[in-house]
Symmetry: C2
Subunit: 400 residues, 2 copies
């Protein structure tokens, strides 16, 4: 497997672009399309929030056929909680796009991200769809990645190539999301493309497996949004022998997909609103997988841990506190806590450590916290970021 | 029932004081005592964190007799996660204090709040205990309330009087805690005193009932700490006919206690680290009590809701989002959301509202969010505060 240049248009037969249609007040790109030359097998994972955006509802409906041609994504407006017109607006976007692409409306997926409760400005979007489709380009992945950004400060895209039985297969991806990110999809949109030839059933299985350990292991502020999804398009144009069972090819494909999704997920954490660093919270020795996840997640979500990371203040008491209320089973008399390789706490008891050296570890771009529960054999890890002044600044006046 | 001046020393037969023994670097008071003239019936509610501070462990042990004379509280150090010496240090404090007060060590409760993982400076505390005991004063409640503060910006105390069968009974209280506050005790210490004559069993029941709807309905940052407790001392010196069953006197006593605990709990939320306002999140129409609590709590904990409150940005989409991931059962098509009396969302759909007027509502000292799930008859409410730059500032360098 090699990392290559590009994002969603790196695989064969994908076109994309992004344009500014006027949803964002600052005139930046706010409408994106990713399109496969041929109908592609698709799979998706969607928010678990009980409230679901109207575009997302349409996409869940359209996914039922198992195949699609393109996805249209707008930023600047979530198309959520606006009543019946919301679904109608999403359908209109799909219908107009399908006419331009000469396919059926149900072959078009729609995603929206931004403010809730404000109707989509259809007068801006509909006329822009023609420009969007005519601008589509086999090198347009980066423009699409730009157009889906909200409070993101960097575009998030990646591509890899791998060999499946002497055939080159490429997987590309882009994502957005920096605030409101939390396991179970959050305000995050991920679009993955691949030219792999793979059955729809295995594509679905691969995506579900991989999302669990990548996108669902990122938390910025613990909030999960109403609009968010990861979808994958597989158009088969690499012409590898079709992956129809869980053999070696499938495993290789999953590894590649895992790389792409993990890369994007970590980028989301690192680019969390106001973040100055990426924090990995690893838990080992849990009695069961749920406990490993619970403990890692509680530490990663704790505002006190996150502000301590921002301030480079080696206050590991906040880490043990979060593990303590996480709901994970453990005996406080056996827990070990490390920052990087440096032990802070062994068998539940403070150990002497070099304060300056520990502070230096916290000052890095990437900080790793390791918690050993010493109770069982299960482990997990969650990525998050620090909580800074800028997080408050960005979120105190998002709409205005 | 009347609110009267004072705090823990307002009831008959209570003495208190606070001194500076050197645990706080800035020379402020950091050691407090609250003492009853006679042995008092006691009850307590403790942190649910699996990790428990050593002083708290000692107090849980000493509470088993059902009676105590005094509580000694230090701020500036949590006495947690320091190994076997932690329990020994707490016992030493209890033993020395009991000698000075001429009672048994188990008649002394100990509480500690502050940094985790650093041994108590016993050379500072032990010599100060004599001064502490000799300074005790029937008007010393305020000094004690000062000495238990950590990042608190105001002392928190209150007292009320009520009539039980023509006898005047007084309940007083003090509390500390501004960060790390969350349902189930958090870094919060509350000491309630009363001269009521009440059975230990009913005292315990009254405290548990009241804590549930007061201290356990406050969240500042969702973190629950390892050291926190609410204890009540009832010394019977009002000489009211003993409350031994759940009749009218008991109900009156519970109402009075509820007033005291709710007053202190709301003060904790209002004084949350960096807070500029008190936010009440009320949920009505839930299918069951747990759902009402879950929904209120998710909204009150959401960093996105809390930063929006700080910025006076009427972004109610964040409220419906939090309800959506709370786990509460509801149909998004029936939910109503209000800020103050102003509807933002009816039947799951945005309604037009006067933006300037809504902003004015958010700019108040107290903001009320009301969520109607329209699914059942249960309600709940949680108090929180906004999330400001100062929260980050305070917590980015707590130790240093």
């Amino acid at each position: 497997m090699n990392v290559i240049k590009g994002g969603v248009t790196a695989p064969e037969g994908f076109f994309a672009t992004g344009v500014a249609c006027g949803l964002k007040k600052d005139g930046k790109k706010d409408l994106a399309i990713v399109c496969s030359e041929d109908s592609a097998a698709i799979a998706g994972v969607f928010t678990t929030n009980k409230v679901k955006g109207h575009s997302l509802q349409l996409t869940m409906e359209h996914m039922k056929t198992g195949y699609a041609n393109a996805i249209v994504i707008n930023s600047g407006n979530a198309n959520a909680c606006v009543g019946d017109r919301g679904y109608g607006d999403a359908l209109k976007i799909a219908t107009v796009t399908s006419e331009l692409l000469d396919c059926r409306p149900q072959d078009i997926l729609v995603a929206s991200t931004g403010v809730i409760g404000v109707p989509l400005n259809m007068d801006a979007i509909i006329p822009a769809l023609e420009e969007l489709v005519s601008n589509m380009d086999p090198d347009g992945g980066h423009d699409a990645a730009e157009a889906i950004m909200t409070t993101d400060t960097i575009t998030k895209e990646v591509a890899i190539e791998l060999e499946l039985q002497d055939t080159r297969v490429v997987i590309g991806g882009m994502a957005k999301g920096s605030g409101m990110i939390h396991p179970n999809m959050a305000t995050m949109i991920g679009v993955i493309t691949t030219d792999a030839n793979i059955s729809r059933k295995l594509l679905d299985k691969a995506l579900r497996t991989v999302v669990k350990s990548s996108f669902n292991r990122v938390t910025v502020d613990g909030d999960t949004s109403v609009c968010d999804m990861v979808v994958i398009f597989a158009n088969g144009m690499a012409e590898n022998p079709s992956i129809i069972n869980e053999g070696e090819d499938y495993e290789k494909f999953v590894s590649g997909l895992e790389y792409v999704c993990t890369y994007l997920a970590k980028l989301i954490a690192r680019d969390g609103e106001g973040a100055t660093k990426l924090v990995e919270v690893a838990v080992e020795g849990a009695e069961n997988p749920d406990d490993a996840y619970r403990a890692a997640c509680a530490v990663a979500k704790s505002p006190l841990v996150k502000t301590m990371m921002f301030g480079n203040d080696v206050n590991w008491g906040r880490i043990i506190t979060a593990v303590g209320y996480s709901g994970a089973e453990f005996d406080p008399a056996y827990i070990d806590i490390y920052i990087g390789d440096m032990p802070m706490c062994k068998a539940g008891c403070a150990v002497d450590f070099d304060e300056a050296e520990a502070r230096r570890l916290l000052e890095q771009d990437e900080v790793r916290v390791l918690i050993r529960l010493n109770k069982g054999v299960y482990s997990d890890r969650v990525w998050t970021c620090d909580l800074s002044y800028d997080y408050v600044k960005i979120n105190a006046s998002y709409r205005t």
